[in-house]
Symmetry: C2
Subunit: 427 residues, 2 copies
């Protein structure tokens, strides 16, 4: 951890910098796997699963029996917790249903916009040290609410070829239609092209390592939409004397335990707070099972003291944090003026973990400064909007002359003709 | 043009295929230009403008005097037409303002979502044979409504180093903040990195050729958001006996004149209509100034006859047209069941040109099958949504145990600690 006082604006770019992920070297392996899956379908996916995940599978799909058996394995208390999370995520995301908008822009010119669910979506759930079943909820709940018809979940199997029971349970209660035992580039390629067992989808969601991220970029270039570019997770805690140092420390630590590349920033309006928080971190850190990871991540942590709230706000907006915890007395000033952040946690009793699991907001959020242009994932990301216009003959008379003017000024005579023909028609 | 009857579903993929654009070869020139602009700023942009656009500029920005002089050159009738278009686009897009949503998911757990404009956006307007000032309206009007603070327009200068007057006029009345005389890869690179005269932006919008499209993909990989992947424009007209063949022909032609790679499809529910439409095309085509381009595009046109409305609908959804003209008696069946389309034009008096210029809908639409996952560009694309949560101590007690369950099942003890510490606190 490094503490900074008297910060000059010229230092902001450096303080906002995230670790560079170099993705160019991944290009050739991504292309190779995509080509193989395009040409050989399931066979290629199975082959890469053996090569990369060290497990030889007979088939890619989780069978109904396997799925049911997994569901039954989940302890009742955990089931209840997952159900509560699901309920809250549903409550928040169902508020996001976009109303049909309609307006008569000119007499006889009626325009409206309707929303449709994306028919086929793919959800990527990373494997690794822990089964991230909470991400299943965050992706599958809005997919279902949006009316997506086919919801295909891909996740890498463990060494025995199984998928974690909690993932199967979360997928079951959220209406996932198929679970594919595949991870990494080969999973994204299968969703992009479709194979014998994996349906081709129109949009791919979900976090992943740099291979998955590079594969998603490739999918996008190939014609499949993606949600947002995923990078290492990050938190920025804004705090003053009203914050509880132990709470702040626990939030920084819960970010730090995610991974060694996690980004942890404290923006303090109190000069003493960084020291107190550091002490608390030292107290809490040794008790954590993932202390080594957290300690490594904290090496890059930045504890910043700003004298003025204007400078502090300016820095937060420049940093554009994925998670933004606001634990200050003058919270309204920051809430009203925050421009760039993924999800905001207010007060001493709103830890990031609440949004990661239970509050109802989505935990799929823009990282690496993308909060300047991307928002939190939500229902809208699983839908698209179609425009409609119904123009009467009178309506066309009302806008026709202007169309002729503009089309001809753009050199598009056939565009003008399509209107003039109708304006002159006797029908 | 090719006419198809008795179409088998197995032929759909071929009939839905768009011409492949091979973008891999562009990678090295895109990287080279990006690196040069990153390192040398304005100097590099000016150099490439000389190299690619054959014009040696002194500086990149349109000056105030230049801008005012251009505005004064636009004929009054065209000004009035542009003003009418602007008004209608404003009317339709201002309906799209997203309301704040707020819900208490559990007692003491209040979640809400607020919308913010993206602070800095870049608008790309292609050069070429005609000045596409209508696209300025389609991008700058929603940018302004969304509250974007910096709106930077890039467009290539003509051989004398000037920007078309109508573009300057459209930019003036829509509140564009800067106009940069640069096109192609160097323009996108300048918006991505920022230079001495060009501000770095957070999202880049607008159509362009394959160089611009490849550059936008690179911008996205570099950390700048983009609107949607642009491809050649396309129209699918659905028609039956109630359609006027001359109108249908004029719509197909107004698509065909865009470019030789434009996609033109007729889905007919009447067996005779394709013949009648072909005759009308032959009548209207020779009168067009861009007849050569249109004739070339029509070589790939497909006139399809479907016996059943179900098959016709299925095909339209599989094709996912950018523009979808519905000129049939049973229009409700198609309007209710269309899943994949960018913008829909209903009835005999709603030509595509109306949406291109005046109805108020946006003409920036998904091509190349992307209508399966992307909608029409709209106000939302110039904004992002931030989630907020304010949890009271009681609220945390209500969801805390479930967070502990889930965090521990995911192996994230620090996440659990951040909650447990607060639940046990005396404060």
């Amino acid at each position: 951890m490094k503490t900074y006082n008297n910060i000059n604006r010229s230092e902001w770019p450096e303080l906002c910098r995230r670790p560079q992920v170099n993705s160019t070297e991944l290009g050739s392996v991504v292309n190779q796997v995509f080509d193989a899956v395009h040409n050989n379908g399931d066979t290629a996916v199975l082959q890469y699963t053996e090569q990369f995940d060290n497990v030889k599978l007979e088939s890619l799909l989780v069978t109904e029996d396997e799925w049911a058996a997994g569901v039954a394995e989940v302890p009742l208390q955990l089931q209840a917790a997952i159900q509560q999370a699901k309920k809250n995520i549903e409550t928040f995301h169902s508020q996001q249903v976009a109303p049909k908008i309609e307006v008569e822009t000119e007499s006889g010119v009626v325009c409206w916009q309707e929303t449709r669910g994306i028919q086929k979506v793919g959800l990527y759930i990373p494997g690794g040290s822990a089964p991230l079943f909470s991400t299943v909820l965050m992706l599958a709940v809005p997919a279902k609410l949006a009316g997506c018809e086919e919801v295909v979940l891909c996740t890498p199997p463990d060494k025995r070829g199984n998928i974690a029971a909690a993932i199967l349970y979360a997928a079951e209660i959220t209406g996932v239609t198929k679970i594919v035992k595949a991870g990494g580039i080969q999973a994204i390629a299968a969703l992009t092209y479709g194979t014998e067992s994996v349906p081709q989808v129109y949009k791919i969601f979900g976090p992943g390592n740099q291979y998955v991220t590079a594969a998603k970029q490739k999918a996008f270039a190939t014609g499949t939409a993606i949600d947002l570019p995923a990078g290492p997770s990050e938190v920025l805690v804004l705090a003053d004397e009203s914050a509880v140092p132990a709470f702040v420390a626990s939030d920084l630590l819960s970010q730090a335990e995610h991974g060694m590349d996690s980004q942890v920033v404290l923006v303090s309006l109190s000069e003493n707070l960084p020291g107190k928080v550091s002490e608390e971190i030292e107290k809490q850190l040794p008790l954590l099972p993932r202390a080594d990871i957290a300690r490594k991540a904290l090496e890059n942590a930045r504890l910043l003291y700003f004298k003025s709230r204007e400078e502090a706000l300016g820095f937060v907006n420049a940093y554009a944090p994925e998670h933004f915890i606001v634990s200050v007395e003058e919270e309204d000033y920051f809430l009203n003026n925050i421009q760039n952040a993924g999800s905001v946690f207010i007060g001493n009793y709103s830890p990031e973990s609440a949004g990661d699991y239970l509050s109802g907001t989505n935990h799929t959020l823009p990282t690496n400064g993308f909060a300047r242009s991307f928002g939190s994932l939500g229902l809208a990301d699983f839908t698209k909007k179609i425009s409609f216009q119904r123009i009467s003959k009178t309506g066309l008379q009302n806008i026709g002359n202007s169309i002729l003017q503009m089309a001809r000024a753009e050199g598009l005579e056939a565009h003008a003709q399509a209107v003039e023909l109708r304006m002159k028609s006797e029908k």
